[in-house]
Amino acid sequence: MKLPIYMDNHATTPVDPRVFKAMTPYLTNVFGNAASRNHSFGWEAEEAVDRARKQVADLIGATPKEIVFTSGATESDNLALKGVAQMYAEKGNHIITAATEHKAILDTCKRLEKEGYRVTYLPVQQNGLVDVDQLKAAITDKTILISVMHANNEIGVLQPVREIGRIAHENGVLFHSDGTQAVGKVPVNVLADNIDLLSISAHKMYGPKGVGALYVRRRNPRVQLTAQMDGGGHERGMRSGTLNVPGIVGLGEACGIAQTEMAEEAKRLSYLRDKLKDRLLASLDEVYINGTMEHRLPNNLNISFAYVEGESLLMGINDVAVSSGSACTSATLEPSYVLKALGAGDDLAHSSIRFGLGRFNTEEEVDYVAEKVIDVVKKLRELSPLYEMFKEGVDLTKVQWTAH
């Protein structure tokens, strides 16, 4: 077993060697511009892009013409939200999203608010899921778009997208979903799930960084977007800019691999994830799982070790790459807004660790990580005044703290 162990696959994933192999010719000999229509260099590049477009479309139940290549999911989210908001401005100015969305959605919504749009940020329930009745109640005759992510990047919960999409369509509202964490990990089908726009990222599914896609529905309803990038009119005018051919080939290959291996991989990863969870729960008290286990990515575990601060825990397991919702690990010095939205309390947000298992993690690694985490949590609890008070029966919520 090689150290350090990478278990932060929600942040990014390594490129699968098969993906790298598929990309290599397009980084070297086959370098043409896919928009060059009058020589073989261009045709070869275009062929490769077309093949990738079909691989992406097949994975999500779309047609190739509905795939717009972008630089990644952040751009896809921006294009979807701003593009719809501007295109449908005459129809309405109201957007509905959820409090636990990625910043690429939330900050785009904030920008739109400054431009005069109205945005409803739905709270989530304690299990991390949007309440569909609340969603229904939020729809007005000015609502043009609902944007709810498929899988959450911190707690891995799967939103009821199919139901949300159905509600959107019943009300004549477009439905965008940020599929960054879900596509390639769990089945996503834009037809069955009633999705009109879907953001996809390559580097979360063993593809390269810097490339992604936006699915834009062409029928029932036909979705139109105002382009956010002006230029040569690539991607049917929706996204100008010379196509990143090697990146797109990599995204396509990553989708192709996911198509054939996703079911097996999900089974393997959920076994490893559950083993990790069960070991931690069996050996430690006062451990809390954030978000429902029932509707969740197979590779995600987000867990709070009460009375232990997240960054100090990361420091103790420094040969394991995971992330924490603790403020001390973030640039803003604010604990995770996602965990806060669950109503878990800031103290549990500070104590949280996100494990993101991936294609290349082994059972041996999971065993090592479980033992290591258990050791360090026990050690830090011996250091923790809060754990001592808890053991003495002190109700920590009743203590007068000196906030600073």
């Binding site: 601060e309 100090s312 403020a327 001390c328 309390g345 809060l386 703290w401 000196t402 906030a403 600073h404």
Partner: protein
Amino acid sequence: MYSNKVIDHYNNPRNVGTLDKNDPNVGTGMVGAPECGDVMKLQVKVNPETGVIEDAKFKTFGCGSAIASSSLATEWLRGKTVEEALAIKNTDIVNELSLPPVKIHCSVLAEDAIKAAIENYKSKSRPRVPEQAHV
């Protein structure tokens, strides 16, 4: 990200533990809040004859720098008089541990914990006027 001294205190924290908070010679300071991500408990045991701190213990919930700051504080407190202890400044801790700007609040918290522990000790040894009036 962490200096070697911080890592050393994190791996081998000095003087972890708890003194009897009901002992009249023990002063207890607890500062910070769980929702802010750090709580320090620092205790001193003072020789009432000499005013010298004979023992110091800590427990800290917080990041590695917070643990190191309070561990270092207990090292420095031992053998100092109460008055000397009050002269410890957070900047001394910052310099000793080479804390980066984002971790300065950890040193501030440690200084606050020292002051709170000594204040608690002093409040115990101070004659309680109203109680004496009843005697």
